[in-house]
Subunit: 427 residues, 2 copies
């Protein structure tokens, strides 16, 4: 981790640059697979599953029997853990339910807004060295609370043609309505166009590699919404001497182990503290199974000494971190003034891991500075707001003239007429 | 308007198909202009303004003097109308403000969600035959309520190098912080990358032609959010014999005059009523200044007889109209069960024009079936939700073991360590 001391604001954008991703060369592949799946459906999907996942499947669909078997293969300890996490996520996302907002803007003009569920949603769960079943909770729990009718989960099969037990267990626990063994670009294409076995959905959620990311971006061209653009995970810790260096080191490492392109940044007012953290990192990293990944990620990472809290705040808002841990003696200052962050962890006993799994907040968050404009996944991500209006005769008499004048000024005579024809009857 | 009687569900997708748009050939142009603006800033912008708008400007920026002059050129009658519309829009969007949502998910684990403003937003207002100043109200009013610090409005200059008086008046009335004379692809590129005169923003709002639409889509690749993908405007009216045929005809025409690619659909249980409406359309269309546009749009348009209300509802949800007018003797049934629509107008005295201008609801709505997954613009469009969590020692003792087990099962040892290292001190 390289250290920078009170860097000038003009250097921040270079200093805080994310590890670059080149996606241009991927686009051709993604477009080709989309075309093929659109035209040839399951036949194309099977071809790519064989090509990329190295397995030929009799059927894409996961059976009830498979789910039952999976469930029986999970320890009761882990099941209990998953259930506690689910309950906290449920509690926090249920608290986000909103009532109808209704108001009479002018006498006789009643307007209201209601959230209604997105009926068909797709959840993509990557497979890799380990099954990321926590993401199933983060996406299926709010989908179920929102009232989504179809919750379709896609995840790539392993060489034996199976999806990990933990993913299947979490899926049935959280009300997923259909589980399909399909991954990568072909999964996103399937959810976009629909195939014989994959239902077409209205919105696709979930993380993935660069191929999945580009595929989700392409899906939006076909009218399918996505949760948000994705990028490598990142963490910024703001800590001073009131923090515990070994805790901070453990948090930075928890982020660094995600991938070599993960980015961790430490902002502190104390150089001594930064050095302590560095020592702790060196000590802790040795025993990690994923130490090579973590060490690579740490190469991209920076310690920034900011003596002035206001400057530190500006720098954090400029960076717009996905995860922000605050361990300072004035956390309230940062909490009150942070503008751009995905999720904020406050104090010495709020590690990022807590939010990744079990505190109740969602772990699907905007990376790459997107927290300047995007929310993390929340209950509203699974609904859309519809507005309604009911205007009485009196109401139209009250605003009719305004509509006529404005429509006229915009040169839209038929818009005006729609009011005039009614006003004529009312006057 | 062609009439279809009780069409079979298998034919709906063909029947309800939107007029197609081909955007592929536009993409090359858009990409080229983006590259040029990214590299050459204002110089490139000026070049395209000369090319597309046919005017050479000394300066892009609108001065306070220009705004004052514009204001003095607007009739006090129109000013009053704009102010009434603004007040209703303000009332409805202020009602959408939400409190912090805070909950203790487990003892010692407090999670909360707060909405914070998107600091820099761009508003695009097209120019054309007439100044669409109502869109300024629809976008700047909620931006100001949300607390966006920079509200940048871009609109193409006319041949004399000016933006319409009404747009300038509405902009200053609604707290726009900067007005720039720039349109089309070069405006969206400027807002995406920033130039000497155009501030870079985090999210771009507003309608536009196909070039602007493709440019906004490209902006998302560079990490700039957009309000929603756009398409031609559309209206579905569900009406029975309890409705007034001349009112319904006026509403259909108000949508049809937008553009030849606008789509209007009438759903009714009565063939007689449809014929009445058709007669009224023929009568009313004659006097419209934009009758040629309206007539062309009507060619794409359909009357669908649905004898069964449940079938009608299914068809409407399948189509997912941007605007939905309900004039039936059982509007409550449709209101309760509609799943997909942008904005709904209820009863004989709620024409779409009311929502276009002055009732208080927003007129920036999802077209092209996007209301299956997207909300119309609302207050939340100008904010993002940030989550926070504060976990006490007791809280971490309560959920620590769950985190450890789940992290272990996901093969993320450093995630587990971040908890274990703390629990060791606490136990």
């Amino acid at each position: 981790m390289k250290t920078f001391i009170n860097p000038n604001q003009s250097t921040w954008s270079t200093l805080l640059k994310r590890p670059t991703q080149t996606i241009d060369d991927i686009e051709t592949t993604v477009t080709q697979i989309f075309d093929d799946v659109q035209r040839n459906g399951d036949q194309a999907v099977a071809k790519y599953t064989q090509l990329f996942d190295g397995v030929e499947l009799d059927s894409n669909s996961v059976t009830t029997k498979e789910v039952e078997l999976a469930s029986s293969n999970i320890s009761s300890e882990l099941k209990q853990a998953i259930q506690q996490a689910k309950q906290n996520i449920e509690t926090f996302h249920k608290a986000q339910q909103t009532e109808t907002i209704s108001i009479e803007t002018t006498i006789g003009v009643t307007c209201w807004q209601e959230k209604r569920a997105i009926n068909k949603v797709g959840i993509y769960i990557p497979a890799g060295s380990a099954p990321l079943f926590s993401t199933v909770l983060m996406l299926a729990v709010p989908a179920q609370i929102a009232g989504c009718k179809e919750i379709v989960l896609c995840s790539p099969p392993n060489k034996e043609g199976n999806i990990a037990n933990e993913i299947l267990y979490a899926a049935q626990l959280c009300g997923v309505t259909k589980i399909i063994k399909v991954g990568g670009i072909q999964a996103i294409a399937g959810l976009t166009f629909g195939t014989e076995s994959i239902p077409q959905v209205y919105k696709i959620f979930g993380p993935g590699n660069q191929f999945v990311t580009v595929a989700k971006q392409l899906a939006t061209k076909y009218g399918v919404a996505i949760d948000m653009p994705a990028g490598p995970s990142e963490l910024l810790v703001a800590a001073d001497k009131s923090a515990n260096a070994s805790y901070v080191a453990s948090d930075l490492l928890s982020q660094a182990e995600h991938g070599a392109d993960s980015q961790v940044i430490l902002v502190s007012d104390s150089q001594d503290f930064v050095e302590e953290v560095q020592k702790e990192i060196d000590k802790q990293v040795k025993d990690l199974p994923r130490k090579d990944i973590a060490k690579n990620a740490l190469k991209n990472s920076k310690a920034i000494i900011m003596e002035d809290a206001n400057d530190a705040l500006s720098l954090i808002n400029d960076y717009a971190p996905e995860h922000l841990i605050l361990c300072t003696n004035d956390n309230d200052f940062f909490v009150a003034n942070i503008q751009n962050a995905g999720s904020v962890f406050i104090g010495n006993y709020s590690p990022e891991s807590a939010g990744d799994y079990a505190s109740g907040t969602n772990h699907t968050l905007p990376t790459n500075g997107f927290s300047k404009a995007y929310s993390g996944v929340n209950l509203d991500s699974f609904t859309k707001a519809i507005t309604f209006q009911n205007i009485t005769k009196e109401g139209l008499l009250n605003i009719g003239n305004t509509i006529e004048l404005m429509a006229e000024a915009e040169g839209l005579q038929a818009h005006k007429n729609a009011v005039s024809i009614r006003l004529k009857d009312l006057k």
